[in-house]
Point group: C2
Chain length 289, copies 2
């Protein structure tokens, strides 16, 4: 099924926290199982959004982006923030001989490593502002430059004239960080599909919670890094805070991501249960509307 048959497809490319699963050197049952069976691994938290004939990465922490996404296969990148586990893959792309690739994220003066100094084809020139709602078209997607050799890859389908909207939602993290509210008009319905992708965050800033509570959200994708903690952790949700946010926003469905090995271990206990409508995302799984 191509992305053109649906209004929106979100594929989870990675659902792990910064350490990923298996954690290097860790022999806990969760990490041991993930080392044996690739289906249980959790890579750097990121997703592929296919919508309105466009293909956007949400975060770029996968180190093998050059192999996964040949030039021409991506419209651009929605960057939540510039921590290494969300941006590492840009380190290779920026040396590419490729047309400009828009990277839309927060206006973080530090960025990641020396990316701003040597951006290559990565175009960081249009960061989002808080609560900006941007009309996303692929019309301004750059075409191949006059390189000495033609660039590889096929352009996107010629019917990529669709439009969707992205709103930048400020999150509560250790550096400038946006979640994204994504709105698509499905082919067979009068109403918009709304997806909120909120990571990395611990709880929500009050203005963001107020803004999102006004929306009807079909799918909430939410940071849930740790098992329940006695008090709120720094920078990331534990399961308690994640479920509180899910209850407040009351989406159609909630998928947890940015999952650390200790949360997987906690959830493997026979007593652990997630509320109805809440589940853990898995690497490689996708949802469609």
């Amino acid at each position: 099924m191509s992305a053109h048959d649906t209004a929106l497809r979100l594929t989870f490319l990675g659902t792990g926290n910064a350490a990923q699963t298996p954690v290097y050197g860790c022999a806990c049952p969760v990490c041991a199982r993930a080392r044996q069976e690739t289906a249980y691994r959790r890579g750097p938290c990121s997703a592929l959004l296919e919508i309105a004939g466009q293909r956007w990465l949400i975060d770029s922490g996968l180190p093998d982006l050059a192999e996964r996404f040949p030039v021409g296969s991506l419209t651009g990148i929605l960057q939540t923030h510039y921590h290494a586990d969300h941006a590492e893959g840009l380190l290779r792309l920026r040396w590419g001989l490729a047309p400009p690739l828009p990277v839309y994220g927060p206006d973080d003066p530090a960025g990641f490593a020396d990316l701003y100094r040597h951006p290559g084809p990565l175009d960081f020139s249009r960061p989002f502002t808080a609560f900006e709602r941007r009309r996303m078209t692929s019309a301004n997607r750059a075409r191949p430059m006059g390189e000495e050799y033609p660039v590889e890859g096929e352009p996107l389908a010629s019917d990529d004239t669709g439009v969707f909207y992205v709103t930048a939602i400020p999150l509560a993290h250790s550096r400038p960080c946006f979640g994204y509210l994504i709105e698509a008009a499905p082919a067979d319905s009068a109403r918009n599909v709304r997806l909120a992708y909120l990571t990395d965050t611990v709880g929500l800033p009050p203005e963001s919670e107020t803004y999102l509570k006004r929306q009807r959200i079909d799918l909430l994708v939410l940071d849930a890094t740790f098992p329940p903690q006695p008090s709120a952790p720094r920078n990331h949700n534990d399961l308690t805070r994640a479920l509180q946010t899910a209850a407040v926003l009351a989406p159609g469905k909630t998928l947890l991501t940015h999952i650390g090995h200790t949360l997987d271990a906690w959830l493997s206990s026979p007593d652990a249960q997630l509320p109805p409508g809440v589940a853990c995302a898995k690497d490689g799984a996708y949802v469609e509307f």
Copy 2:
């Protein structure tokens, strides 16, 4: 053949420049061939040094170090400098549940990304000083800490009581950067084996050239990023400057590394020829003494 049968084995894990080969998006013949045939790829410039019962990485730019080197399989890391293509793999290792892993490199206050702020098990506390000659033993290699779960991996062989010497050689690059002169006593010979690993650099600082000219070098591994240029490039050797350095140091053999796709393209011309005793390194190849 295990490393214990030889005095020194150097395995080239990556022989590419920052862009690697194939370059993202490039369809030149060199990149097209590398995309088809993995044997022609060049990954981030790095090597594995097996010597005196110890196993040291030279540079850590490979993003999959966690998969390649389980905890316990490395004695430590010799870091030439902290550019992304030489240090990217540390981003994951530093979240490991693992005993301390020494990372010996130049005293670069910036380091790479936020590694110094969140080093995890990486131990940056003993940088080299210029021309320091350090006695390398695995006696002070840390043993697993009292983790909740035992760490994976086998300890090194119990006869890892060998000793070798490393001298830090200042190079001419855009940030603090050391090459390394490595000295091992082979099992079957009275004289030392000497390997000079010199990347990233353009030419050599005069003091480094003077120092190295006094040594009998069996193997020179040298930065050769570009084909011959009319004038010296910045930060990296072109082939002209690399061959000049090789002629001055007069090693037993020279292997070029940090090779960009344009040098491979230049070398594929029928007229192109390297002098006797000079060859290009290849990913996965090794040399033994």
